[in-house]
Symmetry: C2
Amino acid sequence: MLELNFSNMMGEVIGEKGVSERQIEGIKAVVYEIDKRIKAKEKPELAFIDLLEQDTSEIKKIASDIREKNENFIILGIGGSALGPRAILEALSPFHNFDKKTRVFIYDNVDPRTLDRILSLIDLKKTAVNVITKSGSTAETMASFMILWEKLSGAVSNPSERIIATTDPSEGNLRKIANEKNLKTLSIPKGVGGRYSVLSPVGLLLAEVIGIDSGEMLKGARDIHSKCSDAEIWKNPAYLFGTLLYLMEREEKRNINVLIPYADGLKPTAEWFCQLWAESLGKSGLGLTPYPSLGTTDQHSQFQLWMEGPEDKVVVFIKVDDYGVDIEIPKVFKDVEGTSYLGGHTLSELIKAEQESTGLALSKIKRPNMTISIPKIDAYHMGQLFHFFEMATAFTGFLYGVNPFNQPGVEEGKNFTYGMMGKKGYEAKKEEVEKARGKKMCWKA
Amino acid sequence: MLELNFSNMMGEVIGEKGVSERQIEGIKAVVYEIDKRIKAKEKPELAFIDLLEQDTSEIKKIASDIREKNENFIILGIGGSALGPRAILEALSPFHNFDKKTRVFIYDNVDPRTLDRILSLIDLKKTAVNVITKSGSTAETMASFMILWEKLSGAVSNPSERIIATTDPSEGNLRKIANEKNLKTLSIPKGVGGRYSVLSPVGLLLAEVIGIDSGEMLKGARDIHSKCSDAEIWKNPAYLFGTLLYLMEREEKRNINVLIPYADGLKPTAEWFCQLWAESLGKSGLGLTPYPSLGTTDQHSQFQLWMEGPEDKVVVFIKVDDYGVDIEIPKVFKDVEGTSYLGGHTLSELIKAEQESTGLALSKIKRPNMTISIPKIDAYHMGQLFHFFEMATAFTGFLYGVNPFNQPGVEEGKNFTYGMMGKKGYEAKKEEVEKARGKKMCWKA
């Protein structure tokens, strides 16, 4: 089970800039209220909790078919439709494409260089495509799907057999196309939003394609859910996590939350968390900026700023207890005093020492930080991490009094794009873009 | 040549939250002074400017030898020693390891899972190792070098032939080992710090190994340097860039600078910039938090927060004029109104429309942003980008009155690690760590 060590957030360790037990006690009544609202499923989007009980047999069947018949598996999706799958892939099958049978490509942008390279590397005759968009109106995903549809149509006799559409159960453009073209489909349940969808078919199909048991992920999520649904804040790691970061922002103006896992494979998990935290809480002038980091690497990039820069951050470490493998640092170059101390230790000793040292260095100068520990990086504990963060995010949205499930701020940018791409009804937006181009203050040679 | 469009930073476009021409005029005298100090090479670390005139023949010779004799090239380094090479690799040879002769692995952490996987994928008999550390005392790099030294010793008769040490010209542990073991070496000139070293042998050897002309990179850098050394702020893109972000922080409290290139291959360039900006400016309680982002991807992750969250950010776009390749979106699914507007356009039209739309959406609600345009992603323009950002960072450090070349804040963390790893003289630090462990407030199941 994951653990949350929050000593370095507390006044007892970091003094007056820390949180006091009394402050947490003082928020208890509010937490009880929020807990009730979550349990009552006040918002339909809390349906992400129901994912933990889903039947994955259809996902397993489709995945097994994909593995059997294809050398390549392409995911088309963006935002939550790509971040979740990538987090699973990198955590549970690092360097996957080097030696695994079904290679995975996640195309989550509309960069022509990237798609051109992917198409040059794969044999479309041996390729399955998973197009993921809940609404079916995501421009990036639909554009790349239109391209892949045509390319597949030129390469194989029945392109529909190669495509799995993951979308709304009944509505939207992609559902409509899937019905017309007789595509295989998987449903993202009504209510489940993109950034809360990693434990839906969005993430689980990829998991099964790379040989990860989706049942183990759901089991991990269920086990942590039993803790994250305790109404008592001291017993609930998700509520505790959210409350501590909330208090640090409200009381101490710390508006940046760094997430720094000490494992290369968890870097995309930090990026997945950043979407969840940013989009869910960033509204009404409120919000916390989540920062994706990686240890030990970013000790040599960001740590200076955390130590001596403005007091605007809380650093959240993810510590891994057991890396599954270890490598001994041999006793070579014995006469070189500056490095000989390393010999005889192992890499996992070093990486763990660095994580602990970084937390201690911060707390010694009274800069708050906390540490989430996971026993190991496997399907079970990834399920725990995902669900823990989702519960913490939904809870924290309620604590701020914002809706943690919408993203109204992204519409205006989409409207301008629609205008420029000639979508009907957006002609005025196109004019606005052209008018803005006139006001150009530019340095050029 | 790169361009800097700063319209959306200015009061004329975004109103009273914008910068005025008068403010920039008002800072002119200070800029002249800083320009003189830079030209006088007041700090020895300004030696990074001299890199632009270096002779790369030795680098080319070593690279050609590596390419000829090896299937794998491993870089061991962390911080600037890895971020620069990775930025070059991903920008100029995306998906490199899929079909290029000399595969590249950049091991910049001490994660045992990662090294275990790399070792399982390569034949050490056909592998060259480039170990990069200026001081020779970087624990992560030296630990992984000790492991690779022993592994290579077991695999080939003369391991020294396979190793290139990139380090200080005369001092440090790695120089000492290189002399003893007769390793091939490349020097990082005295004065050039890790985060300003991408255009030294640190980045250029990797460039040549993957078939990129280092001379073109330096030529691009020299051409932008002629602009970035103009004492007149309106004519100097680096001074203008730094001044605008400085004013936005000092006057408007915008302490987060997002860098969002619209190209997958430039994501590591954003991460490279983040080290440069964070470590150089983050000290004495001052500093700007650089945020690594990627367009269009992060429109579906961070954009909501930028639009409706706290007013604490400036967004800097990198726009690519010509992606070199393009892919047409075919006119398929014509009866699906929600997506048919995309047909007939190309991916590069879409990605460029999204970048422009995002900037306009922000400026319309008076949130500042600016756009760096590069004609294309090639060696010449990558050289420009790197040097432009380095000049802007050094300048901005002077503007804040901090030393942009040191990183005193990272020492305490290192000392605790030394203590835990048993380095002589750090026994007291070990005790401190153990004492701190006692104060544990932890949520556990």
